[in-house]
Symmetry: C2
């Protein structure tokens, strides 16, 4: 089946194969250490675990850690992943069908017993290459690419891989070097196919570094219908947040939203509530957004998650029209 056929089939109505409403599909693509898991976790909590299925595209690794040692490519390479099976599974999920998902264990580096998954109301797929093929892109309602500056990403990856995945700092740095050409060739081109590009970065003009709280830069492409921010980001809140019409690197028109790390909580609350109001739902803005750990709330992260949440709920609403 081609990407076109997938599109037509998915637009054939909100109903999935089993008569239920077809799931809303969100892809979060990005290199290793770009914060995919943190971004996803807040969305899962906001929607509720019983309404959302979260899939890690890393599970589609074709080789285990031992086997990869002998190979001339890294996990960033499509050759290192079951790309056709990913396409097949994303298509099944998008139609409301169950899959038997492979499982890659990041602790042991082994491939194990697969897992039976039935898609819930929402499906988030996060990973290195979920937007690599035309067919997989056709399966998603909302496509996000995470694009932090390299020094931020390296700092994040070093912290995680040396604490949670048992690597030494030298190993992580060697690995990053080996992966660089494949990141350029396979990971970064996915940015061009995203509806939303998210960049968490320090504000250089203010002399901030990776250790300071980060600001969010969101690129909103007119490939999906965003909330009307021209009304929301008005004079009152301009201090901590900006909306700018600009051209992307490829010359195409985009909206660019900048949420400063120092944005005032009262201001972000106003913006959150205005975006939320556009959905016309009768529940308050979820409190879990922006949570980095139980004590820390991050405003740029919260607003980013809120915009993704807006799109997921909006897509669910229009699927029932």
């Amino acid at each position: 089946m081609t990407d076109k056929q997938v599109n037509i089939q998915r637009e054939g109505g909100g109903e999935a194969a089993n008569g239920a409403r077809r799931p809303i599909m969100l892809a979060i693509a990005g290199d290793s250490g770009t914060g995919k898991t943190t971004l996803t976790a807040g969305l899962v909590e906001a929607l509720g675990r019983d309404r959302i299925t979260s899939v890690a595209a890393d599970d589609y690794h074709r080789y285990d850690r031992q086997e990869r040692k002998e190979l001339p490519f890294t996990p960033l390479n499509p050759k290192c992943n079951y790309m056709d099976i990913m396409d097949q599974h994303f298509h099944h999920l998008s139609m409301g069908n169950p899959i038997l998902k492979p499982v890659y264990d990041h602790d042991t580096g082994e491939l194990g017993r697969p897992e039976y998954i039935e898609p819930r109301e929402f499906v988030i797929v996060e990973g290195l290459l979920p937007l690599h093929t035309k067919k997989s892109r056709a399966c998603f309602d909302i496509k996000v690419y995470l694009d932090p500056p390299e020094d931020i990403r390296i700092a994040w990856k070093l912290r995680r891989d040396t604490t949670k995945r048992g690597y030494t700092e030298d190993q992580v740095r060697d690995d990053l070097k080996k992966r660089e050409p494949e990141s350029v060739e396979f990971i970064r081109p996915q940015r061009a196919d995203a509806d939303i590009v998210v960049r968490f970065a320090p504000i250089e003009e203010r002399g901030e570094t990776a250790e300071d709280p980060l600001s969010a830069y969101l690129l909103l492409r007119p490939t999906i219908s965003h909330p009307d921010l021209t009304k929301i980001l008005d004079e009152d809140v301009k201090e901590g947040m900006h909306l700018k019409l600009r051209r992307d690197d490829d010359g195409k028109p985009v909206d660019s939203v900048h949420i400063h790390s120092y944005a005032d909580r009262e201001d972000t609350r106003k913006v959150e509530e205005a975006i939320w109001a556009e959905l016309g739902v009768d529940v308050p803005v979820p409190e879990s957004l922006g949570r980095i750990d139980p004590e820390t709330r991050d405003e740029p992260l919260a607003l980013t998650q809120l915009i993704l949440l807006y799109h997921m709920i909006q897509a669910a609403q229009s699927a029932t029209d």
Copy 2:
């Protein structure tokens, strides 16, 4: 997708999704210890390993051996298997698509790392329940059910499970008792959906037992087009082989072929060559048919395999028409 849609899609032409010819699909269903593996092995050898993909439906077990100990049902129960994933995978294979097949290890009783499979020209699926659902049945060109007398099956299962799978005789007998109601409820009804029912059995009228070489009783239903045996099984060979028009237990008309264990090799060769000639292929009858071990050739098994082979090649020929 319904079974009807599967049928329509499969009849849409011989071409698979990737432009290659779609594979010919053979299902061999039967209870544990009915000789599925022996029957399959001869077909694989006759066609050549590079032309055939063989899938064990046992791989779709939902629980490992340890987990099953706590459960109120046996592997014969559809609840104990990923039936919907089986349907999905058989459909993919039938359309020429690859699958990531789960793997059940009969030695350890564990579920392991799945295996990437691309269907070759022919696909054989053998197992307990490949004909259980309407949708899976729609995926096969030829449907076979193995139906030995219970005492023969028990003797075969005892021999295999105590020698190759590390069980004691008491364990196997207990297991058979536990499985009996589920065999009645789920396995045996598949007989009604088979195009060919195969029974290897001693000839009771001759006082034969399970220890004697067995005869083959084939039930050929007019659901697929069999070679015209009325011309082939003529007077000359009637000594060791019979063709009879009769009604099956359900009253429906069937052809019944009986190949005696004592059938003369010269006679079976004539029949083999006559069946083979109907295919119009320019290679001789494969020598590997009927092989039980490197030294033993079994005539009833050879002819049974030849008839299945006839159907596989015939289906491949008509798919290119």
